[in-house]
């Protein structure tokens, strides 16, 4: 029993979350790039998917990421009003808000889905976002969809 508990504890310590980050081409991807070339340190937990606009991300894609075992999903795009396509992120925020409520209702922990606006100049903000989100997912533990179903 005690052994199991310690095993679990070490497993949790070893747990490296897998996070899918959908980044918009014009702002957040450039922000991530800036964080990279400025050599800012952040955990290697994210797998980036570059999209032309966060407005192109269908809730299917987010759900599919969770289905395939992602522990967390980040959607990051331009600030409201800065969208390269003018209004793409208006749609994103509605979709994510609805999806979060739905995840909450079905017990899938809506905290695992995170929306943020990161501009091309905000490398620091990007690194900080990845740090805090990775920490949060570490506290939440592995996705139940991966472990139990």
């Amino acid at each position: 029993m005690g052994n199991e508990a310690t095993n679990q504890a070490t497993n949790l310590e070893k747990f490296e979350p897998k996070i899918i980050a959908f980044l918009c081409n014009w702002c957040s991807y450039a922000g991530a790039d800036l964080a990279g070339v400025s050599r800012m340190q952040y955990p290697p937990s994210t797998r980036t998917v570059r999209v032309m606009c966060t407005g192109t991300i269908s809730p299917h894609h987010i759900l599919k990421a969770f289905q395939k075992g992602a522990d967390g999903v980040i959607v990051a795009g331009c600030h409201i009003g800065d969208c390269h396509y003018l209004k793409g992120n208006y749609m994103t925020i509605k979709r994510v808000a609805i999806l979060q409520e739905l995840l909450k209702f079905t017990g899938l922990q809506e905290e695992r889905l995170f929306l943020n606006w990161v501009s091309a100049a905000e490398g620091v903000r990007f690194a900080e976002m990845i740090r805090t989100f990775t920490q949060k997912i570490k506290e939440l533990g592995p996705s139940h969809l991966r472990t139990s179903y």
Partner: protein, 269 residues
């Protein structure tokens, strides 16, 4: 129940409608039927009661086939909400549909937990007060997060992927269906990829589901999908102050870009 057939007969004889989509007793049970002036005697077996059917779906097919003609249709409260949404989603033209209303019985309203079991105008039945609070939703929300996940995964995994919920849904009018897209949902696997399969459908019901409950009646595995879609309706109401199907003009929140109604502080709670 005579009032309905009288009214339909009048509409047909006056030439105001080309046909009337209603229910007819056939092969020992009620089924959808197109009543026309040529076969006006059919109206004697018109079924008016608590039987429900996705008549709007039949109407959609007819309207696509005969775009210049005008059709009548039997509507309940839910059907009227459906018509409102179909008009707004540009699937039907308002001036080519003549609704003939029927108010639901209290027993049916109770079973449906319908908040408005009557259309704006009706010829048959009495107005019944709607049920605002949904017990099944409240019971579900009482569970904690782990219990909810367990409950829903258990329910979702009963799915045999028959697409009955989609086929029965009067609001499912897409020509290409995402939950039948092999890139999103693996083919040849049972149960389907859950929760993606059911949540994808739930997402599509945003601003569309008019809470008629035909999906749940169609489901051979008794998955409480209606509870899920009821919640979807509630989410839309809470977030966007939009009650699906109630407004004849205002478009649903995911139907248009509009102005930003939400702030980043409204998400990631």
């Amino acid at each position: 129940m005579k009032e309905m057939s009288e009214k339909v007969k009048k509409l047909l004889n006056e030439g105001k409608i080309k046909g009337f989509v209603g229910l007819k007793q056939q092969h020992g049970q009620p089924g959808p039927h197109l009543f026309t002036k040529e076969n006006i005697a059919d109206l004697e077996s018109l079924v008016v009661g608590d039987v429900r059917y996705a008549l709007n779906k039949v109407l959609l097919k007819l309207a696509h086939r005969y775009p210049k003609d005008r059709f009548g249709v039997m509507v309940r409260g839910c059907d009227e909400r459906g018509l409102n949404e179909l008009f707004k989603w540009n699937q039907l033209s308002r001036d080519r549909v003549v609704p003939v209303g029927i108010a639901c019985s209290p027993a049916l309203a109770e079973a449906c937990e319908c908040y408005k079991p009557y259309p704006t105008e009706w010829v048959v039945g009495e107005k019944t007060e709607g049920i605002i609070r949904s017990k099944r939703l409240e019971n579900n929300e009482k569970l904690n997060q782990d219990e909810r996940l367990q409950y829903w995964m258990e329910q979702f995994n009963k799915c045999i992927k028959c697409y009955g919920c989609r086929d029965a849904c009067p609001m499912c009018f897409c020509k290409v269906c995402s939950i039948q897209d092999r890139n999103f949902i693996l083919t040849g696997k049972l149960p389907p990829e859950n929760p993606t399969f059911h949540l994808s459908r739930a997402i599509h019901m945003v601003g569309r589901c008019i809470d008629c409950g035909l999906c749940e009646e169609a489901c051979p595995s008794d998955i409480p999908v209606r509870t899920l879609y009821k919640k979807v309706g509630k989410i839309v109401e809470d977030l966007f102050d939009y009650k699906t199907g109630d407004e004849p003009e205002e478009k649903s929140p995911l139907n248009l870009l509009g102005e930003p109604t939400l702030d980043i502080s409204d998400v990631n709670k």
